[in-house]
């Protein structure tokens, strides 16, 4: 293949992928409604995508890609049932409908515009169902709601493609085994189910912005994908304050991405970031989402409170000029909602900044030392790295160096380790 042909083929492929990214959730949702079987619908949708990838680059893009893909999916459903020799009467009826639909309008929207948003929401709840392990929820959500290809998901999580494929196959089987209906949860179940969805989006985001293993400090594509999914959810579930709280948190955190790595790709801590590089547009959107979350007047949830903390940083011209009192208060709220040693540790850091150069670090160190026995922090680099910082500020250099060295030993992120080792060598920076 010569260069021009190759480039054209590549561009056509990307055009298919672009349409898929926009339409995947709706197509899977509509095929689930059509077949009454989520696992089958997902297979059919993937078959339709494969067919598009084969045909569109050669024949050109159809006028209405969504209709084309949905039609192929439906035809494959009929083929599937025919092979199974089941539902004979249903097949005849469906086949007839299908022909009529095709004749009627290739340009028509291939779903009921009044129902599609609810169907996509059902899809979100299905992909994030508690019957599934967390990793499976993440993979399934990225594929069916985000419209990502398996290879893309695998690349984002640095695992082999086969691993993601397996997770998705098992997830679909688990949903079928559990007889999970294609429904939005009942009123009683709702809070827990919404929390599960938010948890999946948060996990995708954090996986993107702080890789737990390996050399990549940031994998921004995944974080942006989580942001997109959060925006989708905010459009589908505008009445849930925490959805806006999560969206606010993600926007305000992503706003700092441009300043989070230095020229060598090493992480830059909040205190040292060039705040002029923060994304003002993202800050504006994040603050708007936070105001919306607060506007319900029911108090902020755990994501909303974290967003409020991120907002304090986002609007502050410098570390010193940050409203640390408000941050301490938000962490106190967070501790009441979700008591955890990690939150206590963060509150200690905020307190160290709020209470003056000597009293602050001393009070914080007392909290931090009180957490020494916490099992949740026993293997983490967080406790010793915070301890190192506080000791350094109190002028106890030798102890600080020891704490930083311990933290460096514990982190699994190569770039973070380099930062901690540098502090161990020179605790006061």
């Amino acid at each position: 293949m010569d260069d021009v042909t190759a480039r054209r083929a590549d561009s056509a492929r990307r055009a298919v992928v672009a349409v898929w990214r926009i339409e995947a959730a709706k197509i899977v949702a509509v095929l689930t409604r059509y077949t009454g079987d989520f696992a089958l619908a997902e297979d059919l949708a993937q078959e339709a995508l494969a067919e598009a990838l084969e045909q569109w680059p050669e024949r050109g893009l159809p006028r209405n890609g969504a209709a084309w893909l949905t039609q192929v999916g439906k035809r494959r459903a009929v083929d599937h049932w025919r092979r199974q020799e089941r539902y004979a009467d249903r097949i005849a009826a469906l086949g007839h409908d299908l022909e009529r639909e095709q004749d009627a309008a290739a340009d028509a929207v291939p779903w009921d515009p009044d129902e599609i948003a609810d169907d996509v929401l059902r899809l979100v709840f299905t992909a994030c169902h508690p019957a599934l392990p967390q990793q499976a929820r993440v993979a399934l959500t990225l594929r069916v709601v985000g419209g990502l290809e398996t290879a893309e998901i695998a690349r984002a999580f640095l695992v082999p493609v086969a691993t993601i494929q397996q997770r998705i196959v098992r997830a679909k089987q688990a949903l079928a085994d559990a007889g999970v209906p294609f429904e939005t949860p009942s009123r009683a179940e709702r809070p827990a189910r919404i929390a599960a969805v938010l948890g999946v989006l948060y996990l995708i985001f954090t996986e993107g912005h702080a890789a737990t293993e390996g050399d990549d400090w940031m994998r921004p594509d995944l974080a942006l994908e989580a942001l997109r999914l959060a925006r989708i959810l905010a459009a589908l579930q505008p009445d849930e304050p925490e959805v806006h709280g999560l969206l606010a948190l993600l926007e305000l955190t992503a706003a700092r991405f441009p300043a989070r790595v230095d020229a060598q790709g090493a992480p830059v801590l909040l205190a040292d970031q060039d705040r002029r590089r923060w994304d003002r547009g993202a800050i504006r959107r994040g603050r708007a989402a936070l105001r919306r979350a607060e506007g319900f007047g029911r108090g902020l949830g755990a994501y909303g409170l974290q967003a409020a903390i991120a907002e304090c940083h986002a609007v502050a011209p410098s570390v010193e000029a940050t409203d640390w009192r408000r941050i301490v208060a938000a962490y106190e709220g967070l501790e009441r909602l979700r008591p955890s040693p990690v939150v206590a540790l963060n509150r200690a850091v905020a307190l160290s900044m709020a209470d003056g150069p000597d009293a602050g670090p001393a009070a914080a160190l007392a909290i931090v030392d009180g957490l020494a026995g916490e099992r949740a922090l026993a293997a983490s680099h967080l406790l010793p790295s915070v301890r190192g910082e506080l000791l350094a500020r109190l002028g106890r250099d030798a102890e600080a160096a020891g704490a930083f060295a311990l933290a460096a030993e514990r982190t699994r992120n190569a770039r973070e380790r380099a930062v901690l080792l540098a502090r161990a060598a020179s605790p006061r920076r």
């Binding site: 561009s11 990307r14 055009a15 992928v17 672009a18 349409v19 990214r21 926009i22 948003a117 996509v120 290879a151 690349r155 640095l158 050399d215 990549d216 594509d221 942006l224 942001l227 997109r228 999914l229 959060a230 925006r231 989708i232 459009a235 589908l236 441009p258 790595v261 020229a263 060598q264 790709g265 590089r277 547009g281 959107r285």
Partner: protein, 144 residues
């Protein structure tokens, strides 16, 4: 990556739109905006009022010269914009081609600057670009 969709209307397009009921235009645009919001790609967007309310500030002279709109010699007028956050140029093109506009209207689609676009003679930026390429290569290596 972010793209700006800039709506450019010719006089004939503006004239022609006067024959279409306002409600109909609002509804079509509303649906378009809603679709982009529900897809999580719409970052910002505004429509602009009639050019007669606007003016042009021209910097060709010693002191900036202000001319009231509409601006006689201009063939096309900017009438609004959207900013989308998408994964590819093709995705921006797909959204742009779905815009409910008619003959005489154009969408100019431009990519919004990211960190990667700052002047390359800046040492900091150069290093950052090098680092990003390194990451991309590593990813490619992991893939294949």
């Amino acid at each position: 990556m972010q793209y700006m969709l800039i709506m450019r209307d010719s006089d004939e397009a503006i004239e022609a739109s006067k024959d279409i009921p306002f409600e109909q235009i609002i509804e079509a645009m509303g649906k378009y905006n809603e679709a982009m919001m529900q897809a999580g790609v719409l970052i910002a967007g505004e429509g602009l009022t009639d050019a007669s309310e606007g003016f042009v500030v021209d910097f060709s002279h010693e002191t900036p010269l202000i001319t009231d709109g509409p601006y006689g010699e201009t063939k096309e007028l900017f009438n609004g914009f959207w900013i989308l956050e998408v994964a590819s140029r093709e995705e921006a093109a797909e959204w742009a081609s779905r815009c409910p506009l008619g003959p005489g209207s154009k969408l100019e689609v431009r990519r919004v600057h990211g960190v990667e676009d700052f002047p390359a003679d800046n040492e900091w930026i150069e290093k950052e670009i090098g680092w990003r390429e390194e990451q991309a290569e590593r990813r490619a290596a992991q893939q294949g």
